[in-house]
């Protein structure tokens, strides 16, 4: 448990580095976790070489989803969009450094789900199904 609320999570939750919105942006998407109503929006800017230059998230949620979002923004900046598409559940768990039960996993993965839906364009359910 105290594992679950590792300092890094509480820290990113309390002092986020990437909260906010970007307007204009190149990719934007928002979604929520039906279990708890947590809501996340992500805005992304990329440069001509398809590299993420800026990323911000907004919305509300638990420490795990918010820390996950903050860590994820940090992680994708500087990455190629093509590489962002390849990010997996495990990558997020590695960022957080914790293991999670099924319910909280949804919290942790919501930001990645939103990012992927954003860069793929909406509705590519099949490509996102590995997040469930």
């Amino acid at each position: 448990m105290d594992d679950l609320y590792r300092e890094i999570i509480i820290e990113h939750y309390k002092n986020p580095g990437f909260r906010g919105e970007l307007d204009p942006n190149d990719y934007t998407y928002e979604d929520e976790n039906p279990v708890c109503g947590d809501h996340i929006r992500v805005d992304i800017r990329v440069n001509d070489s398809g590299i993420v230059t800026e990323a911000k998230y907004s919305g509300h949620g638990c420490a795990i989803s918010q820390a996950s979002a903050d860590l994820l923004m940090e992680a994708i900046i500087g990455k190629k969009v093509e590489d962002v598409k390849k990010l997996t559940k495990q990558d997020v768990l590695d960022l957080l450094g914790i293991e999670l039960g099924a319910v909280r996993l949804k919290c942790a993965l919501l930001p990645l789900k939103v990012v992927k839906a954003g860069v793929y364009g909406v509705g590519k359910e099949s490509e996102l199904s590995d997040l469930d």
Partner: protein
Amino acid sequence: MSVDFSKYKQDFPILSREVHPGKKLIYLDSTASTQKPQIVLDAMDDYYHRHNANIHRGVYTISEEATELYENARAKVARFIHAPSARSIVFTRNTTESINLVAFTWGRKNLKENDLVLLTELEHHSNIVPWQILVQEKKIRIEFIPVLPDGILDMNAYKNLLEKKPKLVAFAHMSNVLGTITPVKEMTTLAHQVGAIVLIDGAQSVPHLPVDIQDIDAEFLAFSAHKMCGPTGIGALYGKFDLLNEMPPFLGGGDMIRKVTFEGFSTNDVPAKFEAGTPAIAEAVGFGAAIDYLSSIGMEEIAKHEQEIALYGLRRLEESGGIKVIGPHNQRGGVLAFDMSGIHPHDVAQILDSEGIAVRAGHHCAQPLHIKFGLPATTRASFYLYNSKEDVDSLIKGLDKVKMMFD
């Protein structure tokens, strides 16, 4: 002389489980589903060990026994809510199916375009969505009786809404979030004065309060066994016999028919008409045993015990600082939903879990109510006969830990 409830805890084997090393389960989520006393599990085991068979059509001994056990359970349910007869009780899967049954049968037959259904703002999704489906299908209209800031229904607004001549008024007897106990009898009388039918969602009241459906006089009452010491997989719908009798059937299949030919079918008598296919027989037996168990303690006593814990919990939570409990301050059931500003309910619940304390976090299937209160989610502690003031003390200690971590 008040009953000593501490002795009942030992009837529930799960309550001696350690969920984490050294942390015994402190179960504060009975509003979602209650724990089961050993005596209920024994009743089902005995059924499977000695009497298990399909019912109604069996001529042999164990099938006759199973039929009798099943129908006895129905009679127990009827007596528990003071229904005039067992024929008024339909077994369903849960409260949700009970309400849908009314929407699919009475509703589809009697509601037409522009007909008004009144609900309240404190309803569980189970008493909202079935009617919204009829909005889509038949273009009926829904209006919501408002909840005042203190969690009480706005009775003046209700009276005004009744002037629009609703066909149906459907509302929870007890809110699963606010703990509000609604004035069911008064509301029913008022609804009847304008000719409306009344459906009561008794998911939280039948398990926790004495309920006399003939006194209330509502047409329908829905509830679930799993919220009252009974098994999952079974619930009940009470309906006034004459109404049930006139309603078209629900699902089609075995047992609900009188006769089937290649050309068509005729329906069986109430309540069989609404129970298509092999029912939840063992679960009915468990439901009956749960009712015997609750009756042996006494619903008045249970309500009093829970009320005491709830009021104690309310006071302790408010004193502890940084916590806002929603809902009324008196006349409430054993449900305490609260907000800790800046700390998400999921985080609260997860940290409490590490202390063995089980509470719910989320919108508790009452999203519209949460929207109304401007909270995406709350943390909810709820109590039943096996809880005690010590459980509240543990909760408060756990919440202190939560605050510390997020400080």
